[in-house]
Subunit: 352 residues, 3 copies
């Protein structure tokens, strides 16, 4: 990290304004607690602003109005400080520039079409009829099946597998160990055995998608499994055959989605969520961690629990769960009280 930027240069890069010394030289980015006098640190909300006051950082990325909390300090004032942080980090840690180097060990099939610069590391295997856009990077040991299509500026990490026919847009990143386009899990029962349903479909991934490590996206039985534009998928996520994920949705680690389910746009499935097959989760939905979604969820809902329920109900339910033993005792006590009352009211009871 040897680059140095002036504070105003960084502010320009994220549509922000500065306070303090606009020509202050920033030589790095660091967390509040370890930042030094040449570093820029993020203080995105009130809690961090308190910490910032005693930080040694030379400058801060803050939200609007933070000047009064950090008087005299060098500030980048942004209405989206976390986003500004991301944009500035990219200046310090830019992606490697596109370059053309096909490693001598790359095995390439027939009818390969490469529309610009391509970087491959060792032992990449590219099938027949593959086309790749400009500026892609393909990591060591990655296998790209017949007929795959990649757009521009994709980064495929080492040891990824793309099954035949996978279609990938521009600026897509796929991390190591992920498998795109394996057969879906479809078997027809007969006489107590399972007959494989051949999977002739494919996976289509739109622009600006990122897929973490160790995820598996299965091809459609017929037709496509579709991942919309800008979708971000974490590690160890499983997506079944013919699922579609709407634009800009987020799937956190270890989520699993069964076949033919449709997930809308701008929807967030938190970690370890399981989703049944053949259902529809709407746009702008949020599903809490470890939830199991078994039925359709309309647009804009926030749900949690297994089975899913409105999140505000789940908050109450989860507080009650540890009190179930107590509730059970309360019910038993009520029954005893009522029984005792009835015995008292029995005719002749007093006289005995």
């Amino acid at each position: 990290m040897t680059r140095v930027f002036r504070l105003y240069e960084l502010a320009e890069a994220c549509d922000a304004i500065t306070a303090g010394d606009a020509s202050f030289e920033v030589s790095g980015i660091a967390p509040l607690e370890s930042a030094g006098p040449g570093d820029l640190a993020l203080a995105m909300n009130a809690q961090y602003l308190r910490q910032a006051a005693s930080s040694s950082a030379g400058a801060f990325i803050v939200g609007p109005g933070a000047e009064s909390v950090l008087p005299g300090r060098n500030l980048i004032l942004s209405s989206s400080p976390y986003w500004a942080f991301a944009a500035i980090l990219k200046l310090f840690y830019p992606d490697p520039a596109p370059c053309h180097r096909i490693h001598a060990t790359t095995v390439v099939g027939r009818d390969f079409m490469c529309r610009g610069r391509l970087f491959t590391d060792a032992y990449v295997v590219i099938g027949n009829g593959v086309s790749v856009g400009d500026g892609c990077r393909i990591g060591a040991g990655t296998a790209i099946g017949d007929g795959c299509m990649l757009g521009d500026h994709c980064r495929i990490s080492p040891n990824v597998t793309l099954y035949p026919g996978t279609r990938i847009g521009n600026r897509v990143r796929i991390h190591s160990g992920s498998v795109i386009g394996a057969d879906g899990f479809g078997f027809a029962p007969k006489d107590g055995q399972w007959e494989k349903i051949p999977h002739s479909g494919a996976v289509e991934i739109d622009d600006d998608v990122e897929i973490g490590a160790g995820s598996t996206l299965d091809r459609g039985t017929f037709g496509l499994t579709r991942i919309g534009r800008g979708v971000k998928i974490d590690d160890q996520v499983h997506i079944g055959h013919n699922v579609s994920i709407g634009d800009h949705s987020l799937l956190v680690a270890q989520v699993g989605i069964a076949g033919s389910t449709r997930v809308g746009k701008h929807t967030v499935l938190a970690g370890k969520v399981g989703v049944s097959g053949h259902i529809h989760i709407g746009d702008g939905v949020q599903v809490g961690p470890m939830s199991g979604v078994a039925q359709d969820v309309p647009d804009g809902q926030i749900v949690s629990g297994s089975p899913e329920m409105p999140h505000r109900v789940w908050l109450k339910v989860q507080r009650i769960l540890p009190r179930l033993p107590e509730m059970r005792k309360q019910i038993a006590a009520l029954e005893r009280r009522l029984d005792a009352q009835m015995r008292e009211e029995e005719p002749g009871h007093d006289g005995r």
Copy 2:
């Protein structure tokens, strides 16, 4: 997809009969909603039959008695329409014919025995003492450890790892990223540290098994982890050391089974199910999605929930969970009513 079949040819392939024009030429298979006049579509139950009436498909695979619902249409009538669909799909999308091509980059150890045709893609690594049957295909970058044995017509996808000693039957498919035979998770505690238990066992996989992408099947500590004949395993399934899975069972995505557990035949574990170690799940058992099975389950049971309970009980429990806050209020109200009653009955209460 350039093959064309007559309707009667397709019916013969799946032991079915035809209605309508038996010599109708089918040029493809497609879903009901997108099928064209040359296509065959599946309409396996009443719901799809209604859709079929307005479909442009040229022919349909249907169950018995559907002629009256689709009069005058070209039909394949099967007592197992979904299975017939699978069988017909295989005609249109046949597996590649066995062929012999050992890619020049294949690294093969000592004492390799190949009993027929073998197809390897680039950068396959085969250890010492490996034997492979006829008609196998091994994908790019796959590593096959010392002493592994494969039967006939196996298809191992790219970037699979078979640890030494793995034994695989005939017609087994293993998808990319899966790891067969890694050490089980066994450690002996001493003085607050963990001593590794060496794993000298292996994994044995019977005929006609399919294993999805990113699954991990650990070797036995001693002895075998066994996968029975015809078992189908989805993506990201984990199977611990010394587990055995009975014939024709189904393990859906993200299932995890801890060490030494035995699962019977014709049993289905739905997605994300977790199973404790050292227990026995019987034959013909069904476990609902996301359930946690902590104890033995007898043959034929249908269980769900975490911990598992009879499925019909779980159906009631899951309807009650969101009503727990209401139940808690009901109990409090009952207590207040009883308390109020008792105050009224106190001697002298009326007189005050």
Copy 3:
């Protein structure tokens, strides 16, 4: 397995003493039920001791005081019989001796530093500026990124990926398919889209760690994701960015830990546990299988459930869950009884 050891040699290797014939020749280790007259078997507690009495094994590893239960048999008496078993297994199944063989297909970058013997299998790819200690083994198809550092005697299985900058101590084992150092899941929202947070941190793994197959450990956003000394990680475990795991903790299969969470020493997370981000789980904590931990857990606690609660409470709760339908009926019955009572007490009720 052709080695033969005298009973006293085995006892010495695990700081134990013998009973019976100390010079008895042990030619193998086997489970109680299948051990033959030349075999040693483990009978670590009362249950197995009963089984041992009728076993054909020639000798047994047992706890103190077992001589009376197995009079006249050849015994290794250890205060930690399971640990002794692990230590003896290592004599029979020793790790391969360190040797130096760099496979001709190994691709090595600039400035590679190897401080002793190194064994690589075929198609290993080593980036620039990598350093490796003595006695390491690297499996086929494994990719080691720029600037990675490995200590002595590490064993990296086939098809592992180490992202650039990963630092690994001594005697670390990583099983196939695992991915160390992929980018964490960090995105900043703006205008309904997600901007990637570049991840400049790394993963640091201390001595004697073992990582199972198919696990993913993400790099820090800044700074490190840290795995402490002696930690054992099972298959398909996911560890988010900037997480730290204390020494000698155990993470069982399919555990997932979200970003920036700290887990203490000697802590055990059972299978499929999910842990929220930015929380702190203390030392010596035990978390039951499939639990969801959403808040800090103090040292020494045993918790279970989702959300987590004291394990003894969870034991009661899980027994009550299947009885919720019954509880609901009890409440309704109580309401009816009270309602009936009140109607009886209404003025004029008797007279009707």
